[in-house]
């Protein structure tokens, strides 16, 4: 092969997954395997208080009694939980970086490559209006804007810091939305979670910045089990972004995160995710298993929680961001785009549980499958006896590209109050040859045409995303659909 050929081949694979590089960094890892000693060791490394170690151990013991869920429409070989390492931390100069200057330059370079603004000057220069907490493998490596946020009483940073600095808050809220017994992966996470983000917005404060966590898996054979806990106190408002990437590796990597959101009276939380974990290669080799439990609790009256997700990565996605609408007049929203190409599988959707009076929920789901991928929407709308005048509107649209992929919709509806109004609409379309030709005839090549048409299809979801994210999401969509036609 000539050198030029090699180069062009490189750019091709780069395009396929441009975040596939590995950072060469020393890390402090626990040996593979899972038992009570490992759970204790994780807790010790992090100098955790006794109650938290107990929480972990309870979860671990419960996990031993559970079996992996089998109901999702995904297929994968059994995960060997004993072969995984449950803790990996990049070695730092100091124990915890106090400012960006203390962060390993290799790490900063990694985030720069990923296009994540960790330098505060970028924000000051008006380039980005986000405060970022970056999580590398298991630990949070840098949080920007901590000081500015502190002045408003906002706590935003790594979960570990929160355990040290605000143990009472963590103790009060941890596990109150996703109990440690919730499900197989959430229970596992409760036992071995390493780090993640914590965020508390005090009464009446409207957070002036987008808060963002950026997750990156680097180490091989490591599971990433981060834990996010976000509390908006009475009347508080916050918009939170989450992005994720991982290196390209031949073996599958496990990601089992838990996210808990709590909205008190009159509070509003908007949580957006752009998930772009490595999806594996064309033949289904490698890729992330993304088994995530995300749930929001509209605890107070008139509260609102809105989930927006754009899922383009991962070999397997198993994820149902949900809302428990407990407060009267509370509102839950779920906007989702899930793209699967090649051998990817996604089983995703939401649960809306109406408990309070006049609670409202909206579900907009767009599933796109190409190649031999399988894409499933699974959603539950439950209206409990107490939920007088509950309203739900669900719309689930699927788009197929080619004829070897599949789209499936499983809407479960469980209504226990006669005043409820529940509406469900679903469509499945094949991307039209005539639409592609129309775009071709205006000068767009077929990949651009498909990206354009799919972007149009996802419009209702993309417009819910914060500006910078929407642009990113559209680009990602184009990248993940590359090679899906022709």
């Amino acid at each position: 092969m000539k050198i030029e050929d090699e180069k062009s081949f490189d750019t091709l694979t780069d395009k396929e997954y441009k975040y596939g590089f590995v950072t060469d960094i020393e890390s402090d890892s626990l040996p593979p395997g899972l038992n009570e000693d490992i759970v204790r060791a994780i807790s010790k490394r992090k100098n955790e208080p006794e109650w938290l170690m107990e929480f972990r151990l309870k979860a671990y013991r419960h996990w031993l009694t559970l079996e992996e869920p089998k109901w999702a429409k995904v297929e994968f070989p059994p995960v060997d939980y004993q072969a995984l390492s449950y803790y990996s931390a990049p070695k730092q100069k100091a124990d915890m970086p106090q400012s960006l200057d203390d962060v390993d330059p290799e790490l900063l370079a990694t985030y720069e490559k990923l296009g994540i603004p960790l330098g505060e000057q970028e924000v000051l220069a008006g380039v980005a209006n986000v405060a970022v907490d970056a999580v590398f493998d298991s630990v949070s490596v840098a949080t920007t804007f901590k000081k500015n946020l502190e002045e408003l009483g906002i706590i935003f940073g790594s979960f570990s810091d929160a355990v040290k600095d605000h143990p009472e808050l963590v103790k009060k809220y941890l596990g109150t939305v996703v109990p440690y017994k919730d499900n197989y992966y959430a229970t596992l996470n409760s036992a071995v979670f390493s780090d993640g983000s914590f965020c508390y917005i005090p009464k009446g404060v409207k957070c002036p910045l987008e808060l963002s966590t950026y997750f990156r898996i680097n180490a091989a054979n490591t599971g990433q089990f981060e834990r996010t806990l976000l509390v908006a106190d009475e009347g508080a408002q916050v918009s939170y972004l989450e992005g994720c990437t991982a290196p390209q590796r031949d073996e599958n990597q496990l990601h089992a995160a838990v996210v808990e959101l709590i909205a008190h009276k009159d509070a509003k939380i908007k949580y957006s995710t752009v998930q772009n974990w490595y999806p594996g290669d064309k033949d289904g080799k490698g890729g992330i298993y993304n088994f995530v439990t995300k749930r929001g609790h509209c605890r107070g009256d008139n509260s609102k929680i809105s989930w927006t997700q754009v899922e383009t990565g991962s070999a397997i996605t198993w994820k149902y961001p949900s809302c428990i609408l407990k407060g009267d007049n509370s509102v839950g929203e779920f906007y989702s785009v899930a793209v699967t190409n090649n051998m990817q599988q996604a089983d995703t959707g939401t649960k809306m549980v109406h408990i309070g009076k006049n609670t409202k929920s909206t579900i907009i789901s767009k599933g796109i499958s190409a190649g031999k991928a399988q894409n499933t929407y699974r959603g539950l709308v439950r209206v409990q006896e107490t939920a007088e005048n509950a309203r739900n509107f669900s719309q689930c649209d699927s788009m197929l590209i080619g004829d070897r992929c599949g789209a499936h919709t499983f809407p479960y509806i469980d209504v226990n109050n006669p005043t409820a109004q529940v509406e469900h609409e679903a469509t499945t379309t094949k991307i039209g040859e005539d639409q592609i030709f129309y775009c071709n005839q205006r000068g767009l090549d077929t990949e651009e045409a498909v990206t354009m048409i799919v972007n149009g299809f996802c419009k209702e979801v993309f417009r819910e995303l914060p500006m910078e994210f929407a642009v990113e999401a559209q680009k990602l969509l184009g990248i993940s659909l590359e090679g899906s036609v022709g």
């Binding site: 639409q435 030709f437 129309y438 205006r442 000068g443 354009m452 972007n455 996802c458 419009k459």
Partner: protein, 249 residues
């Protein structure tokens, strides 16, 4: 050099032969009209020219601007300056007309090695071209052809043509569905785009369009073949006599 040269073109759709030996040459600056009964192959011809993969060219040769068109994919033909105003323009949900056109204009410019238009320059171009077909601004903000009336879709096609400034404009029954005033406006628009280096192939059923867009040549397409060619007066003859003498056999 001819702008378009079609030699003994045969083409089929779904294995069914439709075009059976078409010969046609369009020189820069010329307007050619094609008339013919329903199902005779007019839209098939425009699709084959534009490179729609649902249609198969089985024999013959097409040269566009001197280049064998077989070498070019549909989008490359468009970028090289061929524009098809569709008989039935398709809808694309969720993508605004403006966004779509900006992508199209820049794709063509990129192919031709011209600088991309930024948002401001693009808007200036839109303002200039809007006048040509008097298209309403709200149609430009709406999703491509979504919920447009039949006439609005046709007008939008000509607006797109004005924006893309092609070398060859193929108009497939652009007049069908237009009201009397709109017909005049659209025809004026096309006339405004006529120039010594641009050619047009106008497919129509009605002589009236040709009163406004006066053709240099008129061809009668019946059953996949051009059975008669002549000057603009041929259209008048057809208006009187129809296609009976050719279809009868």
């Amino acid at each position: 050099m001819a702008l378009l040269e079609i030699k003994d073109l045969h083409a089929s759709v779904a294995d069914k032969p439709i075009l059976k030996g078409i010969n046609l040459t369009i020189k820069p600056g010329e307007v050619h009209a094609i008339m013919g009964p329903n199902g005779s192959g007019k839209s098939t011809l425009s699709n084959v020219l534009a490179g729609n993969e649902a249609y198969t060219k089985t024999a013959g040769q097409i040269l566009f601007d001197g280049q064998d068109i077989d070498e070019l994919a549909a989008h490359e033909r468009a970028c090289a300056g061929m524009f098809l105003a569709f008989q039935y323009p398709v809808e694309i949900a969720g993508i605004s007309n403006m966004y779509f056109l900006k992508a199209a204009v820049n794709a063509v410019r990129k192919y031709q090695g011209i600088d991309q238009l930024d948002a401001m320059d693009f808007l200036d171009l839109v303002e200039e071209k809007k006048k040509i077909v008097k298209i309403r601004s709200d149609l430009l903000e709406r999703a491509v052809n979504s919920g447009f009336s039949g006439g609005e879709k046709k007008r939008n096609e000509i607006f797109q043509m004005a924006m893309l400034e092609p070398k060859l404009g193929i108009l497939d029954e652009t007049d069908s569905g237009l009201d009397i005033d709109a017909l005049r406006i659209v025809a004026d628009g096309v006339n405004a785009l006529r120039s010594p280096d641009r050619g047009f192939l106008v497919i129509t059923h009605y002589q009236r369009l040709l009163d406004y867009i006066v053709p240099d040549h008129v061809h009668v397409l019946v059953n996949g073949q051009i059975v008669k060619s002549g000057g603009k007066e041929l259209a008048l003859e057809l208006e009187d006599e129809g296609y009976a003498s050719w279809v009868a056999e």
